[in-house]
């Protein structure tokens, strides 16, 4: 039954999550509850100040979702994580992908992983970087695909391409709350009739030298991490493992930085809040308890999402 719920609820029909503690929601939720830690010593960070551990994701294996294997080289880490998480959430649901909405929370452009280093070194003159040298020997050393890998909307692009999604869409910045911004946009699309189904989530990786340097400079003490997390939402009743809605104001919980367990999986940047929301949805589905996820980020108004067990359908 495709009908807008008057109280704002939509069904959670699918989920996907990968982080340092695993690549499925049940495993991650169990390990989080058990207090397990997914951080490990990272060779990339060992010679840097600050934590030398990180919450890395193994792999991931993109093959189930890649249309063309060669496209992997176009994909920076957030795009890879997004593709797996969103692909898992979509699963095998028979959804019209021409109208499926897609909203992705994104972080800063992924800093290049030293790909431009050779070009910049070739352009180093006695006074610093020399534009003439950049135009000359530096140019041929500059990776032509780097601009495409580092645009912030590339995660959205790759998910739409490889999963064949054509509907309403957006790539939303919002710090740790970016994923919840994406979810709120999806909820608006569903409630206002622009879509009957929506994929919403976030993916990010802070496990690189550039991000780590910047994080330390801004006072972050936690280890870096990475994650992809997504939900498949629908206004079609009876589809859900759980249901969720934007918590109506006033929000009685105090606003706070995402309670995502950075000490267990690292700082997952734009995906931090979304990891918490997906785990909360799983918890609501398995324990029958309603959860409230509140996420804010400096400069972003707090967002609160209520997650509840699925609505019992009338007999």
């Amino acid at each position: 039954m495709d009908r807008v719920n008057p109280d704002g609820w939509v069904d959670v029909a699918g989920w996907g999550l990968l982080c340092a503690l695993g690549a499925d929601v049940s495993t991650v939720a169990a390990k989080l509850r058990a207090g397990e830690v997914g951080l490990s010593v990272d060779a990339l960070l060992e010679r840097m100040p600050g934590p030398s551990v990180a919450g890395r994701v193994d792999g991931p294996d993109l093959r189930p979702w890649l249309l063309r294997r060669k496209d992997k080289k176009l994909m920076a880490r957030p795009s890879q994580l997004a593709l797996v998480a969103f692909g898992e959430a979509l699963g095998t649901h028979a959804v019209d992908r021409s109208t499926l909405a897609l909203h992705v929370g994104v972080g800063r452009e992924p800093p290049d992983q030293g790909q431009a280093q050779a070009a910049l070194m070739a352009a180093a003159g006695p006074q610093g970087l020399d534009e003439t040298l950049l135009a000359g020997p530096g140019r041929d050393l500059y990776p032509p695909l780097l601009p495409l890998q580092t645009l912030p909307n590339m995660a959205l692009a790759h998910v739409s391409i490889h999963l064949g999604i054509h509907g309403e869409n957006g790539a939303w910045a919002g710090g740790a709350a970016a994923g919840l911004v994406a979810v709120s946009e999806a909820l608006h699309d569903l409630r206002e009739g622009r879509a009957s189904w929506a994929l919403a989530g976030a993916a990010d990786s802070t496990v690189d030298r550039g991000s780590q340097r910047d994080r330390l400079r801004q006072g972050a003490a936690s280890a870096p991490g990475e994650a992809g997390a997504a939900l498949l939402l629908t206004r079609v009743r009876g589809q859900g493992r759980a249901r969720l809605r934007l918590a109506p104001p006033p929000i009685t919980h105090p606003s706070s930085v995402a309670h995502a367990p950075a000490d267990q999986i690292g700082d997952c940047g734009a995906a931090a809040g979304m990891v918490e929301l997906v785990v909360a949805a799983h918890c609501a589905a398995t324990t029958g308890e309603t959860q409230l996820v509140v996420v804010s980020d400096p400069g972003q108004a707090p967002l609160a999402v209520e997650v509840a067990p699925p609505e019992p359908l009338p007999v």
Partner: protein, 416 residues
């Protein structure tokens, strides 16, 4: 019944002018703003041309007049200065301030990508082994313009930042439209800003083969829909709109410039850089915008095309226009103002929405220059090399981004 959303203020700083009127006058004159790059020594680069915006200078005096000089810590570069200049013009025109208002009812929706420190800053740091200041890092984030605007306005309402490359500010304006209709706000400031003319970006995009290499004839380099187009010209600028519900605008006696009557978006799901040859993503966005505006295709009198003069985009957009409008495509005038001011990327949606607003207000459509030999695959009713006076009630503007996000906006003449 959806509330009508109106435009009460506009601000723009573009390669064609330091404000909306200068930009509009230059566009209608068919004047190209593409020149040899002056921002850095582009000698030896494969592309040495661009469409540079005039630096509006420090916003210190303006912020000081508002008692907000502390916000200068959030303005580190040309991008911040362009954004503030456009905001200032839009606010001045709207007459929104100083009017008693509820800050929680003011939304800010911006389209923006991450900023980059300039090469001189990188060079200095490489020499000294220095690290960026935390406030500099914060200013590089994609949502920096959104945070800055919210702080200037004292806005505490909905806030969003879209980063979908060339579609960013088009989607930001669409987001504002939806938020106002939903009742989440009474006023929204929406737009976009981008600055791309730096050695790294020129190197990167030229390595992709995306940029025109007509360095010897810069004013002929931007050639939307022309058979001999060879890539786009990087530009820079900012565009900002003040949007309100009709009720709010009338209640405070605001001058209404035009109506923002529709928004639609879609994904191509095709390739990272190319658009599908059949224009299906463009068609879907335009159809959605017209449906949202409750307009038949025949109501569209002018289309400000995305028209980036890459080989694929122009023919794909043409196919999309024909599929979306059907026989009405033969009646709608089409031009790409990127032919004169280059590609403003994240800011192009906002600036071109402003162009369309000026078009419905002025009852004139701007030209698309350098269309010397129209590509047969781009058969549209081209405005041509000179502006035209027309009877125009509704204009459509398209933005199609790297990665395949598409956005279309409908701007309508305000008749009350």
């Amino acid at each position: 019944m959806k509330p009508r959303i109106v435009i009460t203020g506009m601000g723009a700083v573009t390669p064609s002018g330091a404000n909306v009127q200068e930009t509009w006058t230059a566009l209608c004159s068919g004047r190209s703003a593409v020149r040899r790059i002056t921002r850095f020594d582009a000698t030896g680069f494969p592309v040495s041309i661009g469409a540079e915006a005039q630096d509006p200078g420090s916003a210190e005096a303006w912020l000081a007049s508002r008692g907000q000089t502390h916000l200068l810590t959030q303005v580190h570069d040309l991008k911040g200065r362009l954004a503030l200049a456009a905001l200032r013009e839009a606010l001045d025109q709207s007459g929104l301030e100083p009017v008693p208002r509820r800050p929680e009812r003011i939304a800010v929706c911006m389209g923006s990508e991450a900023a980059r420190p300039d090469l001189a800053v990188i060079a200095t740091r490489m020499r000294a082994g220095a690290l960026p200041a935390p406030e500099e890092l914060a200013a590089l984030a994609p949502d920096a313009p959104t945070r800055l605007f919210a702080a200037v306005l004292g806005a505490q309402g909905p806030r969003s930042t879209t980063s979908t490359a060339c579609t960013s500010s088009s989607q930001a304006i669409g987001e504002a439209l939806l938020a106002l209709r939903r009742g989440d706000a009474d006023v929204a400031v929406a737009g976009g800003v981008d600055v791309l003319i730096d050695p790294i970006m020129v190197t990167g995009f030229s390595r992709l083969g995306a940029l025109s290499t007509r360095n010897a004839t810069p004013d002929a380099a931007s050639r939307p829909f022309d058979r001999n187009r060879d890539g786009f010209v990087l530009g820079e600028g900012a565009g900002v709109l003040v949007l309100e519900t009709e009720a709010h605008a009338r209640a405070r006696g605001a001058d209404i410039l035009a109506e923002l009557s529709g928004f639609g978006c879609s994904c191509n799901a095709w390739r990272i850089t190319d658009s599908p040859p059949d224009g299906r993503g463009a068609r879907q966005a335009m159809e959605a915008a017209l449906t949202d505006a409750r307009l038949a295709p025949s109501a569209v009198g002018y289309i400000n095309a995305h028209g980036t003069y890459t080989s694929m985009n122009d023919s794909s957009e043409t196919a999309g226009i024909h599929r979306a409008l059907g026989s009405a495509a033969d009646q709608a005038w089409v031009s790409s103002t990127k032919s004169m001011m280059g590609h403003l990327v994240a800011a192009c949606g906002a600036v071109e929405a402003i162009v369309c607003t000026q078009a419905v207000r002025s009852q004139a459509v701007p030209p698309g220059i350098n269309l010397d030999e129209p590509d047969p695959a781009c058969a549209l009713r081209h405005v041509g090399s000179a502006a035209r006076e027309v009877s125009l009630n509704h204009a459509l503007t398209n933005a199609f981004g790297f990665g395949g996000s598409n956005g279309s906006l409908v701007l309508s003449r305000w008749t009350g």
